[in-house]
């Protein structure tokens, strides 16, 4: 069935609207991610406050100097990714790549530091709820850091495709949002696990 429609008064361009919507979807994804982390955090707090013997036998507590350095590294990487984004909006693609690479390096250092810490611990995943929650929280967060570094690699490769960043920059924006998110999660995690040691 064909019908002829009278032409509308003003044809509109809808391209820009859709791009914004893509980022909205990513923000909703981050919201659901934060609910998962919220569940983990509250579960951790509940298990910790109700435990009789929180620390397993032979464990005095967690060493917090190395993790603190790790935290500083991750927090500063949030600054460098911001600088990378700013360089890109100013049109300096090489500045973007430089700061982007620096962020990736900081993220990778964080993962390295985490691995060193894990290998030096005398308790395991099955050492009661203390060990379980510790590895679950840091591991799940570490997976997110690894994902973030992976996404950044992808964006870095995409930046070498000519004309790729003329307009469609949601990938970079989304990666940067994700990175800030992972950073904030780490700060809460650090406070919960390393700072809050005495129950």
């Amino acid at each position: 069935m064909t019908t002829t429609y009278p032409s509308p008064s003003a044809p509109e361009e809808h391209g820009g609207e859709h791009e914004k919507n893509n980022l909205t979807g990513f923000i909703i994804f981050l919201c659901s991610e934060s609910v998962i982390f919220l569940a983990f955090f509250s579960g951790y707090a509940l298990l910790k406050t109700s435990a009789l013997d929180w620390l397993p036998a032979g464990v005095e507590g967690l060493e917090w100097h190395m993790p603190l350095i790790n935290s500083v590294v991750l927090v500063s990487s949030s600054g460098t990714i911001y600088l990378a984004e700013r360089a890109k909006t100013r049109g300096s693609l090489w500045g973007f790549r430089g700061f982007w690479l620096l962020t990736m390096a900081l993220g990778s250092y964080f993962l390295y530091g985490q691995a060193v810490e894990w290998s030096g611990l005398e308790f395991g995943f099955t050492s009661g709820t203390f060990g379980g929650t510790f590895y679950l929280l840091t591991g799940f967060h570490g997976l997110h850091v690894a994902t973030g570094v992976g996404l950044m690699t992808l964006m870095l490769i995409k930046s070498f495709i000519p004309g790729n960043y003329n307009g469609g920059e949601q990938g970079v924006q989304a990666t940067s949002l994700f990175w800030h998110f992972v950073d904030v999660i780490w700060i809460i995690l650090f406070l919960l696990i390393y700072v809050w040691q005495r129950s």
């Binding site: 509308p8 013997d53 995943f125 709820t129 929650t133």
Partner: protein, 338 residues
Amino acid sequence: MLLFDLLAGTTFYDPVGGGDPVLYQHFFWFYSHPAVYVIILPVFGIFSELFPVYARKPLFGYVYVSLASFIIVGLGLIVWVHHFFTSGVPQWMRNLFMVNTMLISVPTGVKVFAWLGTLWRGKIRLTTPMLFCLGGLFNFVFAGITGVMLATVPVDIHVSNTYFVVGHFHYVIYGAAVMGIFAAIYHWFPKFIGRMPYEGLGKLHFLLTFVGANLNFLPMHPLGLMGMPRRVSSYDPEFAFWNVLASLGAFLLGVSIIPFLLNMISAWVRGPKATHNPWNAIGLEWLLPSPPAEDNFGEHVPVVISRPYGYGLGKPLVEHQAELEQALRAAELQEVSR
């Protein structure tokens, strides 16, 4: 975390290793309570969309109805503990979640009264979709009342894990949600398929569904109050009377699907052709031929110039609406004469 407990040997939920089994219930219902709202919220949307069409009046309190949706979503996130008041939950938590749960009845009440306000002094047409909407609304109000009863901690402790709970959620899910979905199917079937479903079969379907659902689920409430536990396949002889009634209702419900399927299949194959707007409804989808062409409006996207649900106000929804409808009618006449 359950997987780790079972496979890797962690003790998140195992009290022997310092874990907490109630934590599992918290996690489960923290997700699953909002998930049941995913079932009912679209049906609220169907009610809000269909009542104005068949009462020929704008949706009463449009802004408040939509605001209530957001409030329900927000409150729905903080009521999950009401699913396990009886499992060693501290008293302050019970009180908090009882109050939160009862608060939900405020925005849902706003919606119910807005729908009633839409019906009030409207020109009501008792078509099949409207009958399903009205039946669904009736059942939903009933489910809401038992819901407030269940939210009350002392009542909940008394009837927890009995058929009262089963009756409550069947009223919500089948009585309200499924009937709302049936209403939507009958309402938009002409638009999807291009043919009209049969009213007679539809009304028979409604009658069997409504009577069947109430006969099936209403006896569950006295059974629950008498103490019949759920999740047990057999029952004591003292519960027989109400159980027989419920079984009769269940058979009726099963039979009610027959006219529905018959209606859908025969209307799809040889039902009368649907015009572009058989219900005389206001909305963009009703300014398209039935069934709509691919890419709907194509190049000529209409510009909306008035608010939704403008029934009885006599204002066009889009620019050049008169020409648009004339073109649709002309195309339909051409189709008939061919």
